[in-house]
C-alpha cells in the first residue's frame, strides 16, 4: 500500500503531529508525504529526512500560502490517483482537509484512529472516548485522520526521501485568507508538552488564572491548558481548551486545578501518564482518574505548591 501523509507545518518546520501520522502510515505501507505551501523548499528537505519517508511531494505555490482547503483538496485528489491511503493528523488542519478529499474520492473517512489493526481495520474513540470502536472499511482507498497521542513520533532523522515538485492547480477563487491571531507563547505547545498545568472555572478570572497557574507552569516547565468553562469565560484563549472538542493531550503529567472532570474534559486528557487533581469537592469526577488528588482550596494550595516544588 502507498500512503500519502499530510504534512502539518508552520512554514519553517514540520510539526510534531506529522511525525505521529507518519508512524500510523508506516503501519499501512510506504510513506509518501505531501507538503503544501509557499516557499517550502526548506521544510521539504526537513520532511525528507524523517525516518521512514520514501518521498516528499512538494506543492509550492502562492495559492497554497495559507493552505486553504478549497485550493488544496483538488491537488490531493489528483495525487490520490497513485496512492492508496490519505493519512492526516487529526489537527484542525487535517480535520478540515481530509473529509473534503474523502467525499471527492467517494470514500468514508475513518476519523481519529487510535490503532491500525489491519490495512482495512482500525480502532477509534466514539462518545468522547467512552467507547472504542473497531471498524473495517470496504472502500478501496482509505482516508484516515490520526489521533496523534496514540502513535509514537517518527524520528526526525534517518530518512532519505526524494523531494519531487508536483504541478499545482492554482487558486479556485472560493476563499481568501484575511488574517490570523496566533497566541504567542514561550511555553511548550500543548500537544507536545511533557507537563501541562490546566485551570478551570474555579479560577474565577483571567487575572487569577495568570497569577496562580502561570507560576506553577513556569516552575514545572509546563504548557498551560484549560477547561471549556475557563475558555468560554475568557480567562485564556481558545487554543488552550483541552477536551472532546478541544485538544487531545497525553503528557507525562497533567495537573488539573479547579476542574470538575466532565466527560468532555476527560476525553481530552485521560490518557496522560500521571494525573494530579486539586479540587475542593472530594466527590469531583476528576478524582476518579487522578493518580494523586488533593482536596482543598486551590487559592491556598497552588501558591504553596509552587513555592515548595
Amino acid at each position: 500500500m502507498k500512503t500519502l501523509v499530510w504534512v502539518e507545518h508552520d512554514g519553517n518546520s514540520v510539526k510534531d503531529a506529522t511525525l505521529s501520522a507518519v508512524t500510523a502510515a508506516s503501519k499501512l505501507g510506504d510513506v509518501h508525504l505531501l507538503l503544501v505551501g509557499q516557499d517550502v523548499q526548506g521544510v521539504a528537505q526537513e520532511a525528507a529526512g524523517i525516518f521512514g519517508v520514501d518521498k516528499v511531494h512538494m506543492a509550492d505555490d502562492a495559492a497554497y500560502a495559507h493552505q486553504l482547503v478549497e485550493n488544496v483538496a483538488p491537488l490531493v485528489v489528483q495525487l490520490m490517483a497513485s496512492h492508496d491511503a490519505f493519512v492526516a493528523p487529526a489537527t484542525t488542519g487535517g480535520k478540515a482537509i481530509a473529509p473534503r478529499v474523502a467525499a471527492l474520492l467517494d470514500v468514508m473517512q475513518i476519523s481519529d484512529i487510535l490503532s491500525v489493526e489491519a490495512q482495512d481495520t482500525f480502532t477509534r474513540p466514539i462518545y468522547a472516548g467512552n467507547a472504542i470502536a473497531t471498524v473495517r472499511s470496504s472502500d478501496v482507498k482509505k482516508v484516515v485522520t490520526v489521533r496523534t497521542t496514540a502513535f509514537e513520533k517518527a524520528p526526525r532523522e534517518g530518512g532519505s526521501g526524494a523531494v519531487e515538485a508536483v504541478p499545482t492547480s492554482g487558486d479556485k477563487g472560493l476563499s481568501s485568507f484575511i488574517g490570523q491571531e496566533i497566541a504567542a507563547s514561550n511555553r511548550p505547545e500543548l500537544t507536545s508538552a511533557r507537563v501541562i498545568v490546566a485551570g478551570g472555572r474555579a479560577l474565577g478570572s483571567g487575572e487569577k488564572f495568570a497569577e496562580l497557574i502561570e507560576p506553577l507552569a513556569d516552575r514545572l516547565g509546563a504548557g498551560v491548558g484549560a477547561s471549556r468553562a475557563a475558555v468560554d469565560a475568557g480567562y485564556v484563549p481558545n487554543d488552550s481548551q483541552v477536551g472532546q472538542t478541544g485538544k487531545i493531550v497525553a503528557p507525562e503529567v497533567y495537573v488539573a486545578v479547579g476542574i470538575s472532570g466532565a466527560i468532555q474534559h476527560l476525553a481530552g486528557m485521560k490518557d496522560s501518564k500521571i494525573i494530579v487533581a486539586i479540587n475542593k469537592d472530594e466527590d469531583a469526577p476528576i478524582f476518579q482518574v487522578a493518580d494523586l488528588g488533593l482536596v482543598g482550596d486551590l487559592f491556598e494550595i497552588v501558591p504553596e505548591l509552587t513555592r515548595k516544588l
Binding site: 462518545y127 484575511i178 496566533i182 481558545n238 500521571i274 494530579v276 515548595k308
Partner: protein, 249 residues
C-alpha cells in the same frame, strides 16, 4: 437568502454512554436523546442572521429515524421556519448524509448551509467538509464568528494555534464551534407555535443515492480503565510524591 441547517439527534451530552452487552454499540433505547449541541449553535446562528434581516428563511433538515421529528420540532420552536425529515431505518454515515444534503441543496438552493462542527456521538467531524467538497463550495470550519455582507461571508475560525479569519464567496458551508453563540431556549408559546410549522417527511430511499455503509463496526468496547489513584493529605505529601515520581526536581 435561504439558509439550511442540518441537525442530528444524539444521546444527550449529560448522559453517560453505556455499551451494549453484545458489544454492538452504545445503548440508545430508553435514554435521553437531544439535538447535537453544536447543531443548536448552528440553528441559533441562522436564526440570528434572519433576525438581523440578512436572511429570509431557515430550513432545518435531519437524516435519521422518525423520532428525529422531535429534534426538528425543537429547532422550529427556537425559530426555524420549516423542517425536512429524511427517514432511514439504518444508520447513514457522514458520506451518505452529505449526499442526501447535496440533493436537498439542489432542490432548495440555499446560500448558506450551517452545520455543527462535530456530532458528539460518533465524533466524526466530517459531514460539513464532505458536503462542501461534493458541492464545490467553500468551507468555513469551526466558526467562532460570522459576518455576512453582500456576496461574502467572513468567518473567524478556531484553529490549533489560535484564530484564523477567512472570507468565502456565497454559497458556502459553515460549521459551528462552541463559542459562536449561546443558543436560546424555546419559550412555551414558541413550542406551541412550532407544532403547526411545516415538517415534510421523505424517505432516504427516494433519493436514488447509494447510501450503503462503507464502514462495518466489528465491536465496541470500554476504554481501558485507569488504576485508581490516591488522595494525599497536604501539599507536603503531594510534593514528596511528585518528587518520588521524578516529576519535579
Amino acid at each position: 437568502m435561504k439558509m439550511l441547517v442540518p441537525i442530528k439527534r444524539v444521546l444527550d451530552y449529560n448522559v453517560k454512554p453505556r455499551i451494549k452487552a453484545d458489544g454492538a454499540g452504545v445503548e440508545l433505547t430508553n435514554v435521553k436523546m437531544s439535538m447535537n449541541p453544536f447543531d443548536e449553535i448552528a440553528v441559533e446562528e441562522a436564526i440570528r442572521l434572519k433576525e438581523k434581516g440578512l436572511a429570509t428563511e431557515v430550513v432545518v433538515v435531519s437524516v435519521g429515524e422518525v423520532k428525529a421529528q422531535e429534534t426538528l420540532r425543537t429547532a422550529l420552536a427556537m425559530g426555524a421556519d420549516r423542517a425536512i425529515l429524511v427517514t432511514s431505518d439504518r444508520k447513514v454515515e457522514p458520506l451518505g448524509v452529505a449526499k442526501v444534503l447535496r440533493a436537498i441543496v439542489d432542490e432548495e438552493q440555499p446560500q448558506l448551509v450551517i452545520l455543527g462542527k462535530q456530532a458528539i456521538d460518533d465524533d466524526n467531524s466530517q459531514t460539513g467538509q464532505m458536503l462542501a467538497g461534493l458541492l464545490g463550495w467553500g468551507q468555513a470550519t469551526s466558526a467562532s464568528h460570522v459576518e455576512l455582507a453582500g456576496d461574502c461571508v467572513t468567518v473567524t475560525r478556531e484553529i490549533d494555534g489560535g484564530l484564523e479569519t477567512d472570507r468565502y464567496c456565497l454559497p458556502a458551508i459553515i460549521t459551528a464551534d462552541l463559542r459562536l453563540n449561546e443558543p436560546r431556549y424555546a419559550s412555551l408559546p414558541n413550542i406551541m407555535k412550532a407544532k403547526s410549522k411545516p415538517l415534510a417527511q421523505r424517505s432516504a430511499d427516494d433519493f436514488g443515492l447509494d447510501l450503503s455503509p462503507r464502514l462495518e463496526t466489528l465491536r465496541v468496547v470500554e476504554p481501558p480503565a485507569r488504576a485508581s489513584g490516591v488522595k494525599v493529605a497536604d501539599v507536603d505529601e503531594l510534593v514528596m510524591k511528585l518528587h518520588a515520581m521524578g516529576v519535579a526536581k
